[in-house]
């Protein structure tokens, strides 16, 4: 299954869960649920700062009119939490970030004194499982039929999974042995193991909905394909700061 189809299916699943939650609106009172939530679905967006620490990025930045910051990008993430205990959730999620940076060679032009242009695309799609622990009670059960969410519910967590990535450069390049300009596409993609840690807080709007803000660092490295044979493993790590909505179910 291609990552794009995977992403589409994931978003569809999240949409179904999000729609299912309001359909159970009669399961809540004024400011409380009739039972502790079974979990939550969160949809977040933000910015992913790519570490871009491997030599492929530095080489690219040295030759082309890009900087390592250009590999950072907007990111979208969604998670499905399943409550294990009142303060511990199992979390399954995925995210997506993509940067596309047009560039040209810094020090070379073609025979017509025109810039030698190309585009660099960097995509990451982590699919992860985590444990999420609330630092304080996320809510309070009163009796058997009332669960009142806390206004603020800070949490930390960590886990691992796999990350699909693609690093692709397409356009015109220079053969430094002949100094000829040629059009080509260089590509490396695949799945890499990943580890991550995160911290954030939920701010309840009502018994069902909350807004959330989260910081997450993901660590991943992967050997490049033959197109980039002489480079070290690519650094796929990055820090993402996201905010979004949480729907308890």
């Amino acid at each position: 299954m291609s990552p794009v189809r995977f992403l589409g299916l994931g978003l569809a699943a999240v949409a179904c869960l999000s729609l299912a939650a309001p359909a159970q609106a009669q399961e809540s009172g004024d400011g409380f649920l009739f039972h502790p939530p079974h979990g939550a679905v969160s949809i977040r967006g933000g910015f992913n700062h790519a570490t871009a620490g491997s030599d492929l990025f530095s080489f690219t930045a040295s030759q082309l009119t890009v900087t390592t910051h250009d590999f950072s990008s907007l990111t979208f993430a969604t998670d499905v939490d399943v409550s294990l205990t009142p303060r511990l959730d199992a979390r399954f999620g995925f995210g997506f970030s993509q940067s596309t940076t047009p560039s040209e060679f810094r020090d070379f032009v073609d025979n017509n004194r025109q810039p030698i242009q190309q585009s660099t695309e960097f995509q990451r799609l982590p699919v992860t499982g985590s444990l999420k622990m609330y630092l304080s009670k996320p809510g309070r059960s009163i009796g058997h039929f009332a669960w009142i969410p806390s206004r603020y519910a800070p949490y930390v967590g960590g886990g691992g999974g796999v990350m699909w990535y693609r690093f692709r450069q397409a356009g015109d390049f220079i053969d430094f042995e002949t100094y000829k300009v040629f059009p080509d596409t260089f590509n490396s993609d695949g799945w890499a193991p990943t580890l991550h840690g995160f911290a954030g807080t939920d701010v309840s709007l009502n018994s069902r909905f909350a807004v959330t803000i989260e910081g997450r660092y993901e660590w991943a490295h992967k050997d490049l394909s033959a197109d980039f044979a002489r480079f070290q493993p690519i650094d796929l790590s990055g820090f993402a700061l996201t905010a979004g909505f949480v729907i308890r179910y």
Partner: protein, 297 residues
């Protein structure tokens, strides 16, 4: 000039303080009218709505040949006391004294010894009954009860008996009735001398948080649960009220029934199985009152 100003402020402060000190007891008195004695019987006027004879509702017996039963409440010695007399035809079946002065009175019944007491609620609308006895074998039995007037004027008598970790609750509903013609003379004359007065409007006001919290400090949660379920009063519970009630120590089962009464479209409450006087035995949970989990519409 300065001394004049200082003097004026002192005078003003003294006046305000005096007003507050004098006003506070008056405000408290207004909130809770002091008990008074009936000029005719000397009985505490708070008992007036209960005095007289009552019939169980719905009727507990369908045996047409059995003598009719009534429960009559008549003044007893002591301004705060009444006797609850159960009469079957012209025979007195039982007589129980309730002296709502809050004092412990020695009690001995069915081989069990201990104490019993009764006291009025903070708003003087209900009577809390408490007893603690030790029976043969050292078995300790605690009983808490509630006498309350229903919105339609019925007298609801709820008793909860705790034995170890189990609680049995009995709910009796009585409706005011004309005294039976064959009542024993003693009871008939007492009823005639002390006619029932309609309950004051305030005794029929809806039950609020203060009443529930006050009751929680005196009687078992199962008794309050039965009272609220029997009242069928519609509540509008929200998270803030729930927290307030929980923090005040209101029992979980009481909070559950409040939630159920607030959201009747999501919950159903079983009719009290003890409406006709049987004793229902329940554990620590609330399975007696609810059909189960919330019912989705």
């Amino acid at each position: 000039m300065n001394s004049t100003t200082t003097f004026s402020w002192r005078v003003l402060l003294a006046v305000i303080t005096s007003a507050l000190l004098c006003g506070a007891p008056r405000a408290a008195a207004a909130a809770q009218p002091p008990p008074t004695a009936s000029p005719r019987t000397g009985t505490d006027t708070r008992w007036q709505p209960w005095l007289g004879c009552w019939s169980a509702t719905p009727p507990r017996f369908v045996d047409l040949e059995a003598p009719p039963q009534q429960v009559c409440i008549v003044p007893a010695a002591g301004a705060s006391a009444v006797d609850v007399v159960t009469v079957s035809g012209s025979t007195i079946v039982s007589r129980e004294r309730i002296d709502a002065n809050g004092e412990h009175r020695p009690s001995e019944r069915d081989g069990c010894t201990g104490w019993e007491s009764a006291e009025w609620s903070a708003d003087m609308r209900r009577v809390y009954l408490l007893s603690e006895v030790t029976c043969t074998g050292g078995l300790k039995r605690t009983t808490t009860g509630l006498m309350v007037t229903a919105p339609n004027g019925d007298w609801i008598d709820i008793v909860g008996v705790s034995l170890q970790d189990r609680v049995g609750v009995r709910v009796l509903r009585h409706r005011a009735a004309a005294p039976l013609p064959m009542l024993p003379a003693e009871i008939a004359s007492a009823v005639a001398v002390s006619p029932r007065e309609s309950p004051a409007l305030r005794t029929l006001l809806p039950v609020g948080d203060a009443e529930i919290i006050d009751a929680s400090r005196h009687v078992n949660g199962a008794v309050i649960e039965a009272w609220l379920a029997e009242s069928r009063q519609v509540f509008t519970l929200n998270a803030a009220r729930l927290i307030k009630l929980a923090d005040a120590g209101v029992d979980d089962r009481v909070l559950d029934v409040l939630v159920a009464l607030s959201y009747p479209q999501a919950f159903s409450i079983k009719p009290s199985p003890t409406a006709s006087g049987e004793l229902a035995i329940g554990g620590g949970g609330n399975s007696v009152a609810f059909d189960g989990p919330p019912v989705l519409l």
